[in-house]
């Protein structure tokens, strides 16, 4: 919970090409847990939009339901936002995009929101190559409903309740690649140096740009076996049967050069091995991406960075040949054929 954000604003704050400061890209105060990875991603989106000098109101923010899906309230306060229903953001984004092809669509979802209830819609948004950035804030669990395993949770990983997850995870990046996504990337919430440029690239991409961001849930993704210092509190809560204590955590950040790998220790003491890019990767080859993801996974590592991009991507509007003018801007004279046409039609129906 970061409800106390300093209100101090330096008179010489840096401005971007449009004359906006970074602050103009911020949103309401976050109500997420202190240290939640999702807040770091919001900050990266703010940073990217600021640096790209995007007019904030030209962005539409869409999400489903979940802690992750709450975040659009916490960035780009001058953009319209739509917190829809659980797992169905892709369809709402599709409609919004059809109405006005000229805006930028930023979709934020969670692993529960996308890989479980939203799997069908996600699949088909990919297939239609909807022009949007689709960020999954992937924490392997259902944060908002208190920590159940999600479909991206690693097999054997333990939830707050302490039970190992018995199912194989769905790797959303691989699924997206398999389904023909035209832009696929993976990153880590704490690695702003990597995340910001990826977001910029995703926003610039014409078509469906998918970023799977590993974003630790500081509250529920604790592996009991590894939480040494936390023992007393945990014991206490376990004994009273009331899981209502969330120790305040720091945001986890990391920064390391391309081509190298990095160990990141999460709040619960567990470790993720990240690998930034790989010289072998051909980002124009779907297969190369799919293969390397698997290779790293076999080594218990996670390959991050831009994994695949199709530069010739044609988005849904191009595929179905809609007007270049936003559909919503068409008026009566564009749309309504008038009585004369009806007269002919009536005649043909007699």
């Amino acid at each position: 919970m970061t409800y106390q954000r300093p209100n101090f604003r330096h008179p010489n704050l840096p401005v971007n090409e449009l004359g906006y400061t970074r602050k103009d890209y911020e949103g309401a105060l976050s109500t997420l847990c202190a240290g939640c990875g999702h807040d770091s991603i919001s900050a990266a989106i703010v940073q990217a939009c600021f640096e790209m000098s995007i007019e904030p109101h030209k962005v539409a923010k869409l999400s489903g339901i979940g802690c992750s899906s709450k975040t659009p309230t916490y960035f780009l306060g001058n953009s319209h936002g739509f917190n829809s229903v659980h797992g169905r953001m892709p369809s709402v984004a599709t409609g919004a995009n059809l109405a006005n092809r000229e805006m930028i669509y930023v979709g934020v979802s969670g692993d529960g929101d996308t890989a479980s209830i939203g799997m069908g819609q996600f699949t088909h948004a990919v297939r239609r190559n909807l022009n949007m950035m689709y960020v999954v804030e992937n924490n392997g669990c259902y944060g908002l409903t208190k920590g159940q395993d999600s479909a991206t949770a690693d097999v054997g990983s333990a939830s707050k309740k302490g039970e190992p997850n018995p199912f194989e995870p769905i790797d959303l990046a691989s699924v997206a690649l398999q389904l023909g996504a035209t832009f696929v990337a993976r990153s880590f919430s704490g690695d702003r140096a990597q995340l910001v440029p990826l977001i910029k690239a995703a926003i610039s991409h014409r078509g469906f740009a998918f970023i799977d961001v590993i974003s630790p849930c500081v509250t529920f993704n604790n592996n009991p076996a590894s939480t040494k210092g936390y023992e007393h509190v945990r014991d206490h809560l376990a004994a009273t049967g009331t899981v209502d204590f969330v120790p305040v955590k720091q945001e986890i950040t990391t920064s390391y050069p391309e081509g190298e790998s990095q160990e990141v220790t999460l709040h619960d003491g567990s470790v993720v091995h990240l690998q930034k890019a790989d010289p072998e990767l051909d980002i124009n080859s779907r297969r190369s991406a799919l293969r390397l993801i698997k290779d790293y996974k076999a080594k218990d590592q996670i390959l991050t960075g831009l994994l695949f991009m199709d530069e010739d991507s044609r988005d849904l509007h191009e595929i179905i040949g809609t007007s270049n003018k936003p559909l919503r801007s068409l008026n009566e004279s564009d749309l309504c054929p008038g009585q004369k046409v009806l007269d002919n039609l009536n005649e043909s129906l007699r």
């Binding site: 030209k58 829809s84 369809s91 819609q121 699949t123 088909h124 007007s323 559909l327 309504c336 009536n346």
Partner: protein
């Protein structure tokens, strides 16, 4: 033997095998009578499969203009051996049975009280055509030719239809006319023509047109300015979007670029379809979807969102017989409750009930105005009978220059000039309808967050019970506003003690029944509901009649429930006339029930009556 004698007043039914191309021949028959100035109401009774099962086509011809289903068959044209035994049984005594006499009729089927007319269709085809597909196709045309002779249909009218239909494919005209002649001549040569039943030219159709409701609705969407259609195929709603597609291709392609001034997306399911509509509407486009019962159930969560977040949403529900998959190719009016109170929590949805193709056109166009005016979903409830059958209808009209009512939307300039804080859910006008803005309108003003969760008047998330309650009350106020915004009911007659309330496709049969009742001295006023919520006229109608019937095509008297609930009428003051076997309701049924009640006959209550103090 008795031979039914009738001029311009009969029911003819065609029994075919589906997938054999009979529909076009049968349509040609109906159209011919229509062009002879005779009111017709063709109804397709088809199976839920693609090929090889029995399918029927029933045409009522009635020069008085009674177009509801009558019941009973005067002439049966049966070219399906599978269903023949059953088909023969359906013919009224003294009626006529036309069959393929290439093989002799099974002796057990012959009925002595009806007139058998054999035409050796197969033999004729085998003789005339080499290609088996042509044989099958022209068989149907041949019996139409025979009917022309038997019923005195003007042959010119038929050839006229052939040349209209094959415009651009003229080489097909001659073979079709030839097939008509084959049948015509066979009948002439072998039977005394016309038979007891026949047609005569009249001038009873005026400038009316023959069109199905779904096509009319699709044109309504085009005229109403819809630019986004998202849907998932489902019988009997599919032809709404098919029609939209077809006419958009003609009317909505930008001539310069060839680009489309519309977008149609076949969604992955109904949840996605309505999600797309909501997204597009939120972003300022006019969007709609069409579905049927199962789709309504699947859309229910999103309908709740659209109600609560106040997003214009246009949905056309072409009803079929439920529950569940039910009878997908049969008609019913049984999604009334599911639509009116769609979704969990306290929700109420605005409904429209068209009765004719013209109304399908008008109401679809109006649905967009209503949705944007009221900022809520508008569900048009039509049904398979209206949607998929050609219905005689007033011609479609559009007042040139008519502006769309886009509702309370603040544009960039208005926002710029606004000194107070923009409040998305503020009831500034006291009608419960707040102002909205489209995304991207203004760089710093008017942006808000849309959500299905509780929020204050400024669209800021809140869990404050008082704010929540205030908002829910405003939604009720909007509901009151809606009562006078939606189309008013159509009332015919006044001052009588018996009233009838009906809606949608019960209209034709109801009006016919009322005529019969009048002939018997029972005068009945009628009210046709066009929308929910009901406005005061409905309350007044109920209050001013001693006996009120509610006619509907479902088992559970769903419209009566709405009336009782929302008009605060006692259920005992409304007598249901229900029909739910999947076929359209008949005037006979309505007539019988009203007579029984009014004449004081024993009224069997629909449900076990509860002990009660009144």
């Amino acid at each position: 033997m008795n031979r039914i004698q009738a001029v311009n007043d009969f029911v003819i039914k065609f029994a075919n095998v589906n997938g054999t191309g009979s529909a076009s021949a049968n349509n040609m028959f109906a159209k011919a009578l229509f062009r002879m100035g005779l009111p017709v109401s063709p109804k397709n009774i088809f199976p839920s499969n693609i090929q090889g099962l029995p399918t029927w086509f029933e045409v009522r011809v009635n020069e008085k203009g009674y177009l509801g289903r009558r019941g009973g068959v005067d002439i049966m044209v049966c070219v399906n051996p599978q269903s023949m035994a059953k088909d023969i049984r359906e013919v009224e005594p003294g009626g006529y049975f036309l069959y393929d006499s290439s093989k002799p009729l099974d002796i057990r089927m012959v009925r002595s009280d009806i007139n058998m007319i054999g035409v050796p269709l197969t033999d004729i085809c085998t003789r005339e055509y080499a290609d088996p597909r042509q044989r099958q196709l022209f068989r149907n045309i041949i019996y139409v030719g025979a009917l022309a002779a038997l019923l005195d249909i003007e042959f010119d009218v038929l050839t006229g239809i052939v040349s209209d239909q094959f415009r651009g494919k003229e080489k097909l005209v001659v073979p079709n006319v030839h097939a008509l002649e084959l049948g015509y001549h066979y009948a002439r040569e072998n039977y005394e023509c016309p038979i007891g039943i026949r047609v005569e030219r009249r001038n009873e159709v005026g400038d009316k047109i023959l069109i199905d409701g779904n096509t009319a609705a699709s044109l309504g969407a085009i005229y109403g300015g819809a630019t986004v259609a998202a849907w998932y195929p489902i019988t009997p709603s599919t032809s709404v979007v098919d029609g939209f597609d077809k006419y958009c291709k003609r009317l909505r392609i930008d001539p310069g670029s060839g680009n489309k001034n519309y977008a149609i997306v076949q969604a992955e399911d109904e949840l996605a379809a309505i999600g797309m509509v909501i997204g597009a509407s939120w972003n300022g486009a006019r969007a709609f979807t069409a579905t049927s019962g199962p789709g309504i159930s699947l859309m229910s969560e999103f309908l709740g969102l659209a109600y609560f977040a106040e997003i214009p949403t246009v949905l056309i529900d072409v009803q079929r017989a439920g529950p569940s998959t039910g009878m997908p190719t049969r008609t019913q009016q049984s999604d009334v409750l599911a639509c009116a109170y769609a979704s969990h929590g306290d929700t109420k949805q605005v409904l429209l009930f068209p009765s004719t193709p013209k109304e399908c056109f008008d109401m679809t166009a109006e649905a967009f105005d209503l949705a944007e005016t009221l900022q809520t979903p508008i569900i048009m409830l039509t049904d398979l009978d209206l949607g998929m059958n050609d219905n005689m209808s007033e011609p479609l009209t559009w007042e040139d220059g008519r502006q769309y009512k886009r509702g309370k939307v603040l544009n960039e300039e208005q926002l710029e000039n606004m000194s107070e804080r923009f409040g998305r859910y503020l009831d500034s006008d006291g009608d419960g309808i707040p102002y909205r803005t489209y995304p991207g309108t203004h760089p710093t003003k008017g942006a808000f967050f849309t959500r299905g969760t509780s929020r204050d008047e400024y669209a800021v998330y809140t869990e404050d019970g008082a704010e929540y309650e205030k908002n829910m009350q405003r939604l009720l106020k909007k509901w009151e506003t809606a009562k006078d915004t939606v189309p008013a009911p159509e009332i015919i007659g006044t001052g009588n003690s018996v009233g009838v309330i009906h809606f949608g496709t019960s209209a034709d049969s109801t009006m016919e029944a009322i005529d019969y009742l009048a002939e018997e001295g029972i005068k009945v006023d009628s009210l046709r509901l066009k929308a929910f919520p009901f406005n005061k006229a409905v309350d007044d109608f109920i209050a001013s009649h001693d006996t009120v019937f509610v006619i509907e095509q479902n088992r559970d008297a769903q419209m009566k429930s709405l009336l009782v609930n929302e008009c605060e009428v006692s259920p005992k003051d409304l007598i249901s006339i229900l029909n739910y076997d999947g076929m359209p309701i008949t005037a006979r049924k309505i007539h019988e029930r009203i007579v029984a009640v009014v004449r004081g006959d024993n009224v069997t209550p629909l449900h076990k009556k509860a002990g009660n103090k009144e």
